[in-house]
Symmetry: C2
Subunit: 495 residues, 2 copies
């Protein structure tokens, strides 16, 4: 059935007799618990229910029902309203990422990413372009979640205009339930036509096999309860189909970056180095202390093969920053908790807040580097990651982040020299492990992965900078200068 | 040396010649890196440096130095100022707990729990009682951290009044460093005598072998750097001694709670049950929706042996709450990440915020129940936990939490009946595992642990309520009624 027909059907306000309800209740509840615990035990996916619909249709009652019929200890109910101060300080999607259920668990979202979309769609004259973009972003987000083990099922609670009004009046008349009727609920009737049209549009454009909408007729308490429970049960029983696999991404145009290392000679002299470094550090230091910088954040990503000089670069960068205003996040293999969530989840935990810098020593690019090369991620998974990462960085940028990414490139010869030196220097030998030698052996595969990454994730909002690091000094100066340029340019635009 | 002598020594403003500094720099840096990586590899403890001292003494420079001489990727610098909105919404200590370094890592705290203490101590007429309480709380907190694997070393940066003034003037004169001089720095000279006296008092009362203060003479950049580095090095090399072991706690007076279960008969009738439950739920529902409740939080703890009815009670409780305003936290064995922190850390993550309820299905009491009985915690560790837990709950209460704790008590016979029923009911058999039977066999040990817990953690600010659950219906009504009473009483006091 088409969305319009489903909504029409709900507006007929079908009902279920009490006897019929009672006949189904016990078996529905038993089945729900059984399926919930099967999910918990298997823990191969999470299930997230998005609760939406006309105000006053009984969404709250449905959530209560789920918490009563399921074991509420393994259900996470997330109700989002106006952003709290901690939510407002981070990119808009942060709160949804933070609230995702872990594999094995159930999440119920109330006040989801559909709230602003529906608000736009229900305006007298919706901004078509903006709406289209928001709908696309929702589709992309849900497809990404499904591909990464979070199955999203969306419930639209619907009823006729008259039934909505009658239900609100009934609740408002009883002092025990009057608090449940909000101003929004009361205003629905006068805007019913527009709300219905908005719902139809939004559902039609975001109903995907991998993240479907289910319309729940809501006028009758019994029917609403049974259809809600049945819908949830079906979602627990049957995993959703995987989203259509995107075509293998291919770079557009000529690559902007090449991995050629000029070699060490002649190299930067010590005096020139100290002078140039101090100047770049001072420039960066001044830029991050400008008043405009207080509203922005700085996200610095360092990637590169072992011994390319990431640690040394980080140390020179932080020298310019206020030690109270940065975090360094070293990224290694995900831990037990992190593995229970989509791969970007753990990076969202470190979403930047205004006035602060976050420096990633390795990053989400592990997905398309080590996870690709070592086959920790299936080809379909790392191939979709390029687009997901671009969208992810755009969301941070849209919230004011200045995103600067460095690929530190080193020649094979220089890497060998540094590996050997590390083995022989007492306070450096901890830096060299058998794994480093193993990775060195897979040089070609890592190189191919790096080239794809540079070609496919070099965006205007989060550009890559390739820095040749055989000459450590020149490399550090280049990193600092690049950062100072980027921050100055970004603040210049916003100022 | 006594604190007064150490501060006197620092006010002599000793210095270190450049040549002497250079002679030590390389070996200090090498040793720091070596020790840092030994710590990271062993990961048997965390080390937390508290940075304090006179404003304008170079604390910021010292932190920069640590971040430059150590590998900053494994140092977490925490700078706390005026509480942010997300900090203000939680008990005061939340931000310190949240920022603790994991085992193997180093933390540097700037703007620590000493900031308010020093502010009080430096007033013209400090409130002696308040000051004494705050000093005691700091000692208790640090001893607890040490016992739980976080070694706290406190650095006091000090110099003479003249040197302080001279240093500020020097920094203010250079446009590159002028931003580092704050209004507080400029005001130090006029209040120097009082600040010095406050420091002496605070250091004298919080200098413990298990959490020592080190005074760093700070007038000379070279000497400050070397003494800071040496102090840090020593802390990385030598674990601190364990705090003095508190005497084994003993209950005062006659126990308020007894674990006697009246048995099932005659039992509450179905009709009486529904009526009484509905009434209690309505009462609780009204109480949590009172305007005064928006500033408070509700913390509900359920403990009890397997099959005592925790899940059923939780379900009846949440029925009264707004589904958007509660979280249910089921507690199981700590995961990999949680094990790297003191045992209370994972509960601090769920610190309640105003207007919300947090329901713990099992809790921090696992420390003195399962961890004691199964010997996961050493006797000294679970014995000190009673006092730590009382302090912890008091901190939550002080921030407006209404803490209500339930021990659900069931007879041996009824437990056996329920275990057998679970094995035979399709949607309940997942609830019964071999471990449940094993725990049942350790009945006496669990009972002794529960009695100690009830005697030692039944406080006015977080009382225990023992509920006999052989009669499930009566038990649920009692839980709801107790909660309604507790919330009404708490709001009545505050209103």
């Amino acid at each position: 059935m088409k969305p319009a027909d489903l909504l029409d059907h709900a507006e007929n306000d079908p009902a279920l007799a009490q006897a019929d309800f009672e006949a189904q209740e016990t078996s529905l509840r038993t089945d729900l618990l059984l399926q919930q615990f099967a999910l918990l035990e298997k823990a191969d996916r999470a299930v997230l229910f998005v609760i939406a619909g006309v105000d006053g249709a009984g969404k709250g009652s449905a959530i209560h029902l789920l918490n009563e019929w399921l074991d509420p200890r393994h259900v996470r109910t997330l109700a989002f309203g106006k952003p709290t101060p901690e939510e407002a300080a981070r990119p808009a999607a942060w709160r949804y990422w933070r609230g995702l259920p872990a594999r094995g668990r159930i999440g119920v979202v109330f006040g989801s990413w559909y709230t602003p979309i529906l608000r736009e769609a229900a305006r007298r004259k919706p901004d078509a372009e903006r709406l289209e973009a928001a709908l696309g972003a929702a589709r992309q987000f849900e497809a990404q979640l499904r591909a990464d083990g979070v199955h999203v099922v969306k419930l639209w609670f619907h009823l006729s205009r008259d039934a909505q009004r009658a239900r609100c009046e009934r609740l408002a008349a009883d002092p025990e339930t009057a608090w449940r009727v909000s101003d929004e609920d009361r205003q629905v009737a006068s805007r019913f036509g527009r709300l219905r049209k908005a719902a139809e549009h939004v559902i039609a454009h975001t109903h995907e096999p991998a993240a479907p909408w289910r319309v729940i007729p809501s006028a009758d308490d019994n029917l609403r309860a049974v259809v809600t429970a049945t819908t949830v049960l079906q979602a627990l029983r049957h995993p959703l189909p995987a989203p259509a696999r995107a075509p293998k991404p291919e770079a557009q145009g000529a690559p902007r970056h090449r991995l050629v290392v000029a070699g060490r000679e002649p190299g930067m002299g010590k005096r020139d180095y100290h002078e140039a470094l101090a100047e770049a550090q001072a420039r960066l230091g001044r830029a991050v202390r400008l008043p405009e910088a207080a509203k922005r954040s700085l996200v610095i990503v360092f990637e590169g093969v072992d011994a390319a000089g990431k640690g040394g670069a980080v140390r020179r960068v932080v020298r310019s920053l206020d030690v109270r205003r940065y975090d360094i996040i070293p990224i290694a293999a995900p831990n037990e908790e992190e593995r229970a969530y989509p791969y970007l989840w753990r990076f969202w935990r470190h979403a930047p807040t205004p006035g602060r810098a976050v420096i990633f020593d390795r990053s989400w690019y592990g997905r398309v580097l080590v996870e690709r090369v070592e086959r920790f991620a299936a080809p379909a998974d790392w191939q979709r990651a390029y687009e997901e990462i671009n969208a992810f960085e755009a969301q941070w940028k849209d919230h004011g982040a200045i995103v600067v990414k460095f690929w530190l490139e080193i020649s094979r010869e220089e890497q060998l020299t540094r590996f050997r030196a590390r083995e022989q220097t007492p306070f450096k030998h901890f830096k060299i492990t058998p794994e480093d030698w193993r990775n060195r052996g897979k040089h070609k595969a890592y190189r191919a992965a790096a080239l794809d990454m540079l070609a496919l994730t070099d965006t205007p909002h989060a550009p890559w900078h390739v820095v040749a690091t055989d000459d450590k000094r020149a490399a550090r100066v280049q990193v600092l200068t690049t950062l100072a340029d980027a921050v100055e340019a970004a603040l210049g635009e916003s100022g």
